[in-house]
C-alpha cells in the first residue's frame, strides 16, 4: 500500500509538529507514508473566495503530485473535502478520479481503511473535541445534530479508547467555529464572535486540551485562546494519539482487513525514537 502524505500548506509552514505527529502516528500503525516534496495546497482558499478558475492550475498540480499513490492522507478534513467534492471542475481524467476517491482525512483513513477504531495509550486529561464541519457534515465522519441526538463519530470513538482521557460534554456539540477560510478576514466580526462562543463552551464545560481533526479550525480557536490567555491547550488529535502511543506497553493493535469476512489481524505498533 503506497500512501502519500498531504500536509496542507498552513500546517507545513505554521504547525510542522502536526505534520510530524501525523507521519509518526501512521508509522506506529504500520504505514510508512511518503511525502512528495513538490506538493503545495489543495486550492480551497481561492475556490471558496469565488476564484475557482484561478485554482485550477493548483488542482492539476495536486493531482500530478499524488496520482501515483494508492491513498492520499491529510490531517485536515476540510482540504480532503475540497479535493473530493470540488475537483469536479477540471477534466475527469483517470488520475483526477483516482485522487478524488483515494484522498482521506487521517482519522477516516485510520478508521475506514486501516480498520482501527480503538487505540492503546494514555492521555490523562479532559479533552474537548471540536468537530470540523467539512469532516462531519461534508465527509460524514461524525453524526450530525441536525439528524440525530446520538453524538458519535470516528474521532470521538478513537479518543474515548485512550486510557485516562475524558471527553468534554459540550452544550453545542457541532456548531461551526467560524474560521471559514477567507471568511475569517472578510467577516472578521462574525468569525471572531463565533470562535469566542465555541471556546467559551469548552471553557464552561472543563476542557483542558482542545482538539480536533482539522488544524484550520484549531488555528482560529488557538488564536482566540492565546489572545485571551485562557487555561487551555490546543492540540491536533494526531498529536494526542502520537503522544499517547509513545508510552505504550502494548506492542500491537488490532486492525480490520476490510475484506468480506470482516477479518482482523494484530499488527505491531512500531515505537519511534
Amino acid at each position: 500500500m503506497k500512501v502519500g502524505l498531504f500536509i496542507p500548506c498552513y500546517i507545513d509552514q505554521f504547525y510542522p509538529q502536526v505534520g510530524i505527529a501525523t507521519y509518526q502516528l501512521l508509522e506506529k500503525l504500520g504505514v510508512k507514508a511518503d511525502f512528495p516534496r513538490q506538493q503545495t495546497c489543495c486550492g480551497q482558499p481561492m475556490a471558496n473566495t469565488g476564484c475557482e478558475q484561478d485554482a485550477k492550475p493548483v488542482y492539476r498540480h495536486f493531482v500530478d503530485t499524488f496520482s501515483k499513490y494508492d491513498y492520499v492522507v491529510a490531517p485536515s478534513g476540510s482540504c480532503v473535502y475540497h479535493v473530493r467534492k470540488h475537483y469536479d471542475v477540471v477534466e475527469q481524467t483517470g488520475a483526477v478520479q483516482h485522487v478524488r476517491q483515494s484522498t482521506y482525512d487521517l482519522f477516516d483513513f485510520i478508521t475506514t481503511v486501516l480498520g482501527v477504531t480503538e487505540l492503546p495509550g494514555r492521555f490523562p486529561h479532559q479533552v474537548g473535541l471540536h468537530l470540523s464541519c467539512h469532516g462531519q457534515r461534508g465527509l460524514h465522519q461524525a453524526n450530525e445534530s441536525e439528524m440525530t441526538p446520538v453524538r458519535e463519530g470516528q474521532l470521538s470513538r478513537l479518543l474515548r479508547s485512550i486510557d485516562g482521557l475524558t471527553l468534554t460534554e459540550l452544550n453545542r456539540n457541532d456548531e461551526c467555529c467560524g474560521f471559514g477560510g477567507t471568511f475569517c478576514i472578510t467577516e472578521e466580526a462574525v468569525s471572531a464572535r463565533m470562535g469566542q462562543d465555541r471556546v467559551q463552551d469548552h471553557l464552561l464545560n472543563g476542557t483542558q486540551v482542545l482538539t480536533g481533526g482539522d488544524m484550520s479550525c484549531l488555528m482560529h480557536l488557538e488564536g482566540i485562546v492565546r489572545r485571551r490567555q485562557l487555561p487551555m491547550r490546543v492540540m491536533h488529535a494526531a498529536e494526542i494519539f502520537n503522544a499517547a502511543l509513545d508510552g505504550v506497553a502494548r506492542t500491537s493493535v488490532r486492525v480490520g482487513l476490510n475484506d468480506a469476512n470482516g477479518t482482523t489481524e494484530e499488527r505491531p505498533i512500531k515505537v519511534t525514537i
Binding site: 500536509i7 500548506c9 507545513d12 509552514q13 505554521f14 504547525y15 510542522p16 509538529q17 510530524i20 507521519y23 511525502f35 516534496r37 513538490q38 506538493q39 503545495t40 495546497c41 486550492g43 482558499p45 481561492m46 471558496n48 473566495t49 469565488g50 476564484c51 475557482e52 478558475q53 484561478d54 493548483v58 492539476r60 498540480h61 464541519c133 457534515r137 461534508g138 450530525e144 445534530s145 441536525e146 439528524m147 440525530t148 461551526c176 467560524g178 474560521f179 471559514g180 477567507t182 471568511f183 475569517c184 478576514i185 472578510t186 467577516e187 472578521e188 466580526a189 462574525v190 471572531a192 464572535r193 463565533m194 470562535g195 488555528m219 482560529h220 488557538e222 488564536g223 492565546r226 489572545r227
Partner: protein, 454 residues
C-alpha cells in the same frame, strides 16, 4: 453597506448578540426535539424534495391546471410578471371594491414586492395583523426573519413601541399585557377591514384551493370579516394534489418552530356568498431562477426559516444585516438572482458549514449553492479588487512549489522577527483584532522531513 459592515454593527452590542443567538438556538433545539421524534423524518424530507422537483419540472402545466380549477370555483386569477405589476393589480382590486383600508396576514411575497409603502402612497391604510409583523410595521422596519419577524426585538423594545403607538403604560414589558393590547387594537382593525390580503403557503393544482398556515388565526379572521379576499402567491407555491399537502404540513411547523403542526391550517377554495376571492400569481424573477440549473432547487423553499435558526452567522448578525426580504442562508442564494451587484456580499456571509442544508425540510443544497454563487460573482467581476488580485497571486504561488517554499519561509521569518505590534496591527490585519497569529516555527514540516527521512 455590505453584510460584514452591518454584521459588525450588530455584533458591537455583545449582550444583544448573545441574546439573539441563544433565542434562535432555543428554536433550533425545539426543532431538533420535534424531528428526533419522527423516525421517518429523513424520508419525509426526501419525499417533499421530490414532489417539489417534480412540480417545478412541470410548473407551466400545474399553473394552468391551478388557474382552471380556481376559476371553476369562482375565484378570479391574476398574473403578475413582477413586483410592480403585482402592486398595481392589488391596488386596482382595492379601488374597485371602493375600500380605503385593508388587513393583511403574513405574506413574505408582499414584503418582497414592497406592497405596503406602495399602497400607503396611494392612500390605502394597511394593517399587518400578524403580531410580529404589526410590531415591525409600527416601527417602520422590515421583518428580520421569515417566521419570527420581530425576533431582533426584546420585550422592552416592544413595550416602548406599543407605548408610542397603542398607548400602553410607559415601561410596560409584560408579554401578556402587550399581547392583549395588540389584540384589542387589531380587533378594531379586523372589524372595519373591507379587504383582506393573505399570503399562500401552498396552492393545490388539482383543486384550485390555497392553504395558509398561521399560529394566530389572523388570516381566517381577516378573510371572514372582509368582503374581498386577495391571496398573493409566488408561482413556486404549487403542489400537485391535496394528498401531497400532509407531507409539507408535517415538515413545515416542525422545521420552523418545533410544533407538530401550525395552530391553523386554513383552506380557501371559493368565495362565500356575495363576496369576492382573488389570487395573484407572481413571477418576479422566479422564472429566471428556474432557468438556472444550479440554483433551481432554491424554488423548493417553503419559507420555514429553519436555515436561519441554525445558521451560526445569522444568529450573530441579525436578519437586517442581509438587507433583503428573505434573510439568512436561503436569502443569500435567492438575492443574487434579483440583483447580483447589490447582494454580492451575501453568498460570502457563510462559513459553508452546511448546517442549513441539513435542516432544510425540502433538502435544498443551500451551502453548495452559496459556493456556486461565489464562483459566478467572481466570474462577473463583482469581487473586491484586493480579493481578486490576492487570489490570483496566491494561485500563482501555490502552483509553483519553489516559489511556495520561498514564500512560506519569508512569511515565517517575518512573523518570527518583526515586532508583534506590526504583525498584529489591527488596521493592517483583521485577523489580529481578536486573535493571535500562530507562533511561527523555525522549521517547516518539509524541512523536518528532508532532515529526518532519507
Amino acid at each position: 453597506m455590505s453584510h460584514p459592515q452591518r454584521a459588525a454593527a450588530f455584533i458591537s452590542d455583545a449582550e444583544r448578540t448573545t441574546w439573539h443567538d441563544e433565542t434562535l438556538w432555543f428554536v433550533r433545539q425545539k426543532r431538533d426535539k420535534a424531528v428526533y421524534g419522527i423516525p421517518e423524518f429523513q424520508q419525509l424530507r426526501q419525499l417533499a424534495s421530490d414532489i417539489k422537483a417534480h412540480t417545478l419540472s412541470r410548473l407551466d402545466e400545474y399553473l394552468e391546471q391551478f388557474e382552471r380549477n380556481a376559476q371553476a370555483n369562482g375565484v378570479t386569477v391574476h398574473w403578475a410578471a413582477d413586483a410592480a405589476e403585482h402592486n398595481r393589480i392589488v391596488l386596482e382590486l382595492i379601488r374597485k371594491a371602493g375600500a380605503t383600508s385593508l388587513v393583511k396576514s403574513k405574506s413574505m411575497l408582499t414584503e418582497e414586492c414592497h406592497l405596503n409603502p406602495y399602497l400607503v402612497k396611494n392612500g390605502i391604510a394597511v394593517v399587518d395583523t400578524d403580531l410580529g409583523e404589526r410590531i415591525v410595521q409600527l416601527r417602520e422596519e422590515a421583518p428580520s426573519h421569515l417566521v419570527l419577524p420581530a425576533i431582533h426585538l426584546k420585550k422592552e423594545d416592544v413595550g416602548e413601541t406599543f407605548h408610542l403607538h397603542l398607548g400602553t403604560p410607559k415601561g410596560e414589558k409584560d408579554p401578556q399585557q402587550l399581547t392583549e393590547a395588540a389584540r384589542q387594537h387589531l380587533r378594531e382593525k379586523f372589524l372595519i377591514g373591507e379587504v383582506a390580503i393573505t399570503g399562500v403557503n401552498f396552492a393545490v393544482a388539482e383543486t384550485g384551493a390555497v392553504v395558509v398556515c398561521t399560529n394566530e388565526g389572523n388570516a381566517d379572521l381577516g378573510v371572514n370579516l372582509a368582503r374581498v379576499h386577495i391571496a398573493c402567491m409566488g408561482m413556486e407555491k404549487l403542489i400537485p394534489r391535496t394528498a401531497d399537502l400532509g407531507v409539507f404540513t408535517r415538515l413545515l411547523a416542525r422545521s420552523a418552530t418545533g410544533q407538530p403542526v401550525t395552530t391553523y391550517t386554513s383552506h380557501f377554495a371559493r368565495p362565500a356568498e356575495g363576496r369576492e376571492m382573488h389570487i395573484v400569481i407572481v413571477d418576479n424573477g422566479r422564472t429566471r431562477q428556474l432557468g438556472r440549473p444550479d440554483f433551481r432547487n432554491s424554488l423548493k423553499c417553503i419559507r420555514c426559516g429553519a436555515c436561519m435558526n441554525t445558521c451560526p452567522v445569522y444568529r450573530r448578525s441579525g436578519g437586517h444585516s442581509y438587507d433583503f426580504t428573505v434573510p439568512g442562508p436561503i436569502g443569500a442564494i435567492l438575492s443574487p438572482n434579483i440583483d447580483l451587484h447589490k447582494h454580492s456580499s451575501l453568498p460570502f456571509a457563510s462559513t459553508l458549514c452546511g448546517s442549513c442544508t441539513d435542516v432544510c425540510p425540502v433538502k435544498i443544497d443551500i451551502h453548495a449553492q452559496l459556493y456556486k454563487w461565489r464562483q459566478l460573482i467572481g466570474e462577473q467581476g463583482e469581487l473586491p479588487a484586493t480579493k481578486k488580485l490576492g487570489m490570483k497571486l496566491l494561485s500563482s504561488v501555490l502552483a509553483r512549489p519553489g516559489i511556495y517554499r520561498l514564500g512560506g519561509k519569508v512569511a515565517r521569518e517575518g512573523l518570527r522577527f518583526l515586532p508583534h505590534g506590526l504583525t498584529h496591527a489591527q488596521a493592517l490585519n483583521p485577523w489580529a483584532k481578536a486573535r493571535e497569529l500562530p507562533a511561527a516555527p523555525k522549521q517547516s514540516f518539509r524541512d523536518w522531513y528532508a532532515a529526518q527521512v532519507k
